[in-house]
Amino acid sequence: MRSFTLSLTALLVSATMAAAQAPPPAPAQDGRAGGGPGAQGGRTGGAGAQGGRGGGRGGAPRAPAGPVKRMPDGKPDLTGHFSSDAGGANYGLEAHPSQFATPPSRGIVVDPPDGRLPYQEWARAEFMKRWTPERGYDDPTAHCFVAGFSRSLWTPSPFQILQPPGYVVILMERMSWRVIPIDATRKHLPDDVRLWQGDSIGHWEGDTLVVETANNNGKTWMNESGDVISYAATAVERFTPVDADTIDYKVTITDPVVMTRPYTLGFEMRRQQGEILEVACHEDNQDLEHLKHVKEEARKNGTLK
């Protein structure tokens, strides 16, 4: 961008809130915006109480939203403060009841149609090993590392989408970001440069923002239960606005190290009231020592999977 003054002439684009959504969350009781990973029961909670963000399962009925807003160039306006209605995906991509001390999930696997991930045998076994209290320490988010690609979008904490010229930028309340250039001439990073959030390049197909991501480092888990993703994963995400307050999100992931075929996850992102805050996870991490102790005890007892 050549000059700060460019935006002075731009149109004002305001973010309209849905009337019937849940109110913004109360700040943490001690007045800090943050809250460590242990503050909300799960390890990847937002700054507010879980479930207090609206748009979740069983939330208040929502007022009908207006039509999709447009940017001055005619592209859909995806900007604003959103939260994913991912139905507990942070505790399992497949539908499951509450078990192994994790909350239930309604499941976000839309392909295969039966909702079961096409895991290779070893990877399904690895997932079940991870889904134990003694492996909780191995979840990168227990250490307050970034949730990575594309888990950052379904941790139960909201995000702000910006659409500056040439980019879509997603700022996660749980302190990480994705910068997506809308640039057909852009090439991915050299193959040996690997990132937690991967390297993303976007383009528009009609009203759908299509984002291709490669260069993942394979260090993250897909959720607290330990759904498996590897460095080999590449992905195509589709952000399609449904109305002024809703974005339909689909991500198709091809991960030949882990899966027998590509799979697709899907859920809606819903506009939230108020502003995103700041989750100071690592700075206030009260959970990790406990999780480490549980793992060490299991290792000592020979029960570590």
Partner: protein, 219 residues
């Protein structure tokens, strides 16, 4: 950034972990600490290896994040100015929509409300905690810190950055720093520096998963 503000805002000689540098204070002088605060700053300096929150990979705060020698990218929209940083994927989000500061919530990176004064972006950052330092030399602030930043393009590739500090608990009067930010013309995207993750990988607290992590180069 091409100065040594990260190591010390005042004119300083080299010492362990501290590269030497010229004062970035606007008046070229010293930070106007109260006597008690100066004593604490000097104590911070002595114990900097142990006490510096940056060494714990805690969010650097404002304005330290701006001059820690990790690049950042600036984005502008009608209602926001956003900055994404290489350092641990921290970001700053300034509201330019006339909204007011949050009430009663503290932030490591402050609560940022900005406006345009002619061609200068003026950001007021408040609602800080007292946990961050201003540099590696132990310069510090309290939760009463108010930072007023001024960003002015002086040519197409240079932003002159000025910061005024107010904190009646720690400083006897407002004071300011100034420095240029230079555009990186040879970078088309930020990469990642993950402070805590890389530290824990190095010290064994976060173990490599041979099945899922990007393979190590073959010997």
């Amino acid at each position: 950034m091409r100065n040594r503000a990260a190591y010390g805002l005042e004119y300083h000689a080299s010492s362990y972990g501290i590269l030497p540098g010229k004062s970035v204070l606007t008046d070229g002088g010293k930070i106007p600490y109260t006597p008690a605060a100066l004593k604490k700053r000097n104590d911070n300096f002595e114990k900097r290896a142990e006490l510096d929150p940056f060494n714990k990979c805690f969010m650097p705060g404002v304005p330290r994040i701006m001059y820690i020698e990790h690049p950042f990218q600036i984005f502008q929209t009608p209602n926001h100015v956003a900055m994404t940083f290489e350092w641990s994927q921290v970001y700053r989000l300034f509201y330019t929509d006339g909204s007011k500061h949050q009430d009663g919530i503290e932030f490591w990176m402050g609560d940022n409300r900005a406006r345009w004064e002619g061609d200068t972006l003026v950001n007021e950052a408040t609602n800080f905690n007292d946990q961050t330092w201003l540099d590696a030399a132990g310069n510090f602030h309290s939760e009463q810190l108010k930072v007023t930043e001024r960003y002015t393009m002086v040519d197409p590739d240079t932003i002159q950055y000025e910061v005024q500090f107010e904190d009646p608990k720690v400083f006897t009067r407002p004071w300011s720093i100034t420095m240029p930010f230079f555009r990186h013309k040879d970078m088309d995207r930020l990469l990642e520096f993950q402070c805590q993750a890389e530290k824990e990988e190095a010290n064994g607290e976060f173990e490599r998963d041979e099945k899922t992590w990007y393979p190590k180069p073959k010997p």
